[in-house]
Structures are given as structure tokens and as C-alpha cells.
Amino acid sequence: MDDFELRFLTKEEIYVNQYDEDETTALDVLQKYCTGVAARNTDFSCLTGGLRSGSSAFYYLESNYSNGRFYFMGDYANYNSCDQYQLIESYKGHLPIRPVLYFPNRKVSKENLNFDWEQKIYWWEYGEYPQFVLDENNQLERNIIEVLNQKLCMQSLDKTGKTYCFYQSKKNTPCSINYVSEYVYEGKKYIPLVANGIKTGALLSTGEKIVDFKLYWLKVEPIVWLYDEEKDLFISEHALVSGPSFDFVKEGNGFEATEMYEYIHNHLKKDIIPSQIIEKDKSSVLDSSEPLKKYVYKNYGRRG
């Protein structure tokens, strides 16, 4: 699954004119989707610096990189004019990424997609990514948190071999590149993350504020993409991650020279490819002193 490309939505692809429908150029699927062109932030996006929670996350749009001005999708909940996108300076690396996925060399068969009869849109699960935290207020998930914490403290969790990359940018400081390992427990994948200096005030899906130094466990879940038939594009339902800026990191003044391009193409594109879990040979399970180690993992074309 490496024949795809990722990009941002353009201004035109999210433009809705409430007063003159003829002026609206937003993608058909976004016009039909329940939250319109607005996207919800995942918890991972909040924990990597995303500004908003709920269904009105800001997110980046394709921009004119050469003049150093960048567009982002505004607060759609308060939207009451045509000016739904605004300008942002390049160094502000706090907005989420809502990727658009497309296959340059093939058309996806609709037979493989799911159809939402209520909204009359196609959607698809493709790839996976850490998205929402295990909720300590849910007894089942709390039990998993306790086991994961215990096993982490003993360094006895099973790695899948996959690591996720995320950037942490703070105003006027160079961004730091972080990697976090993916673990598997009872066939499900998780990543641990310690909140560190996230001051955005965003609420997590649990309804709670981010607590500094707290250890969160994010569930690695399939990415849901909304399919636009007309343009043959898949738009991520959620804003997935935050952190990278549009600072130029190599020569040139196009998108290809930006930190964002590097992140999307060198990291995010690889990170959405699932690690593969292979059930351990049963005989070896019987010999194992630790019955919880049910699985072995193969690195599925990924960095170690």
C-alpha cells in the first residue's frame, strides 16, 4: 500500500458560500458530510499541539508557500461569512493536518468502499494511526491502562517494530523530532505519550484537559476517509496530527522545501501503513512463562 500520495485540501475544495450556492466550490462529499468542511481533532492531534477539540478543529490548507503566507481552515462553528479561511504565519506549527489521500496511477473501485445511506457518502478505512486515548473513566479501558502501565514500568510490553514520528514546535524554537514505539496488547495496538508542555487548553475526547507529565495511551485505529467521487479523492474524516510548521528546511521556496512536506512525505505517509501482527506459534505459547505474550510482530516494510 505505497502507491498513494498525501496532500492538503485547497481553499477551493472547502469553500462554501451560504448566500450563493452557485459560488460554492467545496467538494461534494464535504457538502454532504454531517460536519460539513469542519473536522474533529483526534486526541493525538491535541497531544501534539492541536489548538482545538470537538468538531471545529482548525486545519491547514494548501497555501502559497513562496510568499510565506499560509491558509488554514477557520472555526467553522462560528462561521458566518464567506471568509472561512484565514492566514497564518509560517512559524506557528500548532495546527492540525487533515490529509487528503489519492492514488495517482489508479482509480479505486467503489465496491471496496462503504456507503453511508444517511449522508449518502462513500467512506473507507485505509491505513491506521494513533487517534484517541484510552479513557480512564471507562472501566474496561481503565483496566487496559493499568496493565499497560504495569508492563511498561517493567519494560515487558511487546513492540510491533513500528515507530511513529511526530514534531513538537514551539514558537521561535527549532522543532524537535520525536519517535514513539507502537506496542501490542491482546491483539490491539497502542502508543504511550507523556504530555509535555502542551498549553493549548484543548479538551481530549474524554472531556478532560491535557495534564502536563501525564502518561496517555493512544489506541491505534483505522483511518476513516471520506470519498469524493467527482475528484476521486479521500479526505481524512479527522484532523490527525499537529506539530510541523511551514519553515523552509532546505533550499527553494516551494512546498517541497518546507518542514511540512518533509513530515508528510518522509513520516506520515509511512506511519499510516499498518504494522503486521502474526499470531505466535501455539506451541511456543505453551512453553512461555508469560502467557500474555501471544503475539510476535513483523516489521512490515518499516523502519525499526
Binding site: N149, L152, C153, M154, Q155, V211, F213, Y216
Partner: protein, 300 residues
Amino acid sequence: MDEFELRLLTREEAYIDDEDETKTTALKVLQDYNAPDPSLIAVNTDLACLMGSYSNANTATFYSLQPNLNDKKFYYVDDGGFVQKEDAYDRQESVRPVLHFFDSTAYRKDLFYNFGIQKLQYGEYPQYILDENAYGGEIANVLNTKLLEQSLTKTGKKYCFYYGEDGKAPSICYRTEYLYKGKKYVPFILIPNNYGGASLSTKNTISPYRIYWLKVEPITWLYDEDTHLFISEKALVAGVGFEFVKEGQTFESTEMYEFLNTHLKQDIIPSRIVEEDKSSLLDSSETLKKYVYKNYGRRG
């Protein structure tokens, strides 16, 4: 052969009569010890707070004395330094162990004077957390990052702790010891409602689901010349009760005895760090791994 045993102070060893000195039976070292004042007070470590003590770290705590199991009376020293009695034990009371070497001359040469009291540093135990607001924050960040990658170096030692509800058999948990730059640390992550709400040495209250890094530090003991007993200067841990865990109705049958003489007794023995052969360091891709560790007579 065992070198020492651990127990709690008895009522007599902790009894000070303010009105009639002739009735005082407390150990001489406890009568003389006045930092903090009054002399029977023991302060909590962060570990005792994390294991359920209600008292703040570095402040006077309630600590258990050896109980009278025949009449089911449990005794403790309160935060004012007075011996108190109750009908049931409380796991939130701290454990201040007494160490008794079978050879009374053992470690005499290692005694040192501090404010007029003879003390000994013997063994080590996780005691205080790295302060994330001070220099310790940088180390805590590195340890967090490495723990999340499961790439920390284990010493091979595990610490055993008890917790649970009053009047019920204890639950047992183990915590792994790690080594970073020659120093030893033990990570703790607590769940809500499993601790007493005390403030830590950083003055912050305990937060659930946060990684606390406890520094493993030498234990300081107060030496009583008359009895050759060593009394821990600090209340080291909490969470241990007095349920009978084997046949008999004596102190030796209780979980406290089991904790002291099966677990704590082993846990205070330091893991040994042996510097790695330098030639193998040259081959190592991870330069931080400067040490190899030997399990020093401990469980794996």
C-alpha cells in the same frame, strides 16, 4: 547465612513518659534523637506517600509498632510523637523498620556521628522522587523517553510492595529498578484512589497516571548503643497490614513480618553495578550502556 533481621519498634522501645522520666522505656537513641522534635517522630519518604500514607513527605507520619495480637490491639506512633492504640490496623500507617544484626559488632566501623547521634548508612531503597521542576526534570524527561521506548537498562532487581484494603489480604506488586548514568531509579505510575492524597517532597499532590521516578538512595539508620539495634531514620514505605498469612497468631505469622523479612530484607540489599569491559564498549552501538549489572543474590 542471614546477617540481620527486620522488625518494628515495640511499644516499650517507643514509650516516653513526659511526666515521669523513670517510666520511660524508649530506646536511648530515640530519647536523644531530636531532629525532628519530638524525638519519636519519623518523617515520610515520597515512597511512603505513593504507597498510601496520608501524611505528606518530609513531615511527621503515623508509623506502626509491633501489635499485641492476643487482644487485637494495634499500636502506632502518631504525628505528634505519641504512642496510640487502636482496635484495627490501618494500611496507611507507614513502616519504620528496625534492623538487628546477629553479629552485634557488625558495621561498627562504619558508624558516623551526626548531631550527637551515631548513624549508619546501610542498604538502599527508593525514597524520593526526581523533582521535575528542578534539575531532576531533565533526568525525568530522559528516563520517560527511554521508558516509553523500553530501552532503559535494568539492574536485575525488583522491589516488592504491598497494598490493599484494611482487614483484607494484601495485593503484591513489583517495581523494576533501572540504571541511568550510574544512578538507580524506580518508576511508579499510580491509578486514582490508590493512594492517600499526601503531598510529595516537591510540594505537589500525587497525580494519577503520571510517571514518578524514585531515586534509590542509601538508608540511614539510628544506632542504639544499649541494644545494638538500628532504627530507620525515616518511615520508608506504607501499605502493609497485620493479616495472618500463615498458621499461628504471632507477629511472625503476619503479613508485616513476611513483608519485612521476605521482601524488604532482600530489597534493601543493593544491586551491584559492574563496569563493563572497555573493549566491549568500543563495539557497542549504544554508548550510554556503560554498565552491566549483576543480580546480587536477588530474584530476577
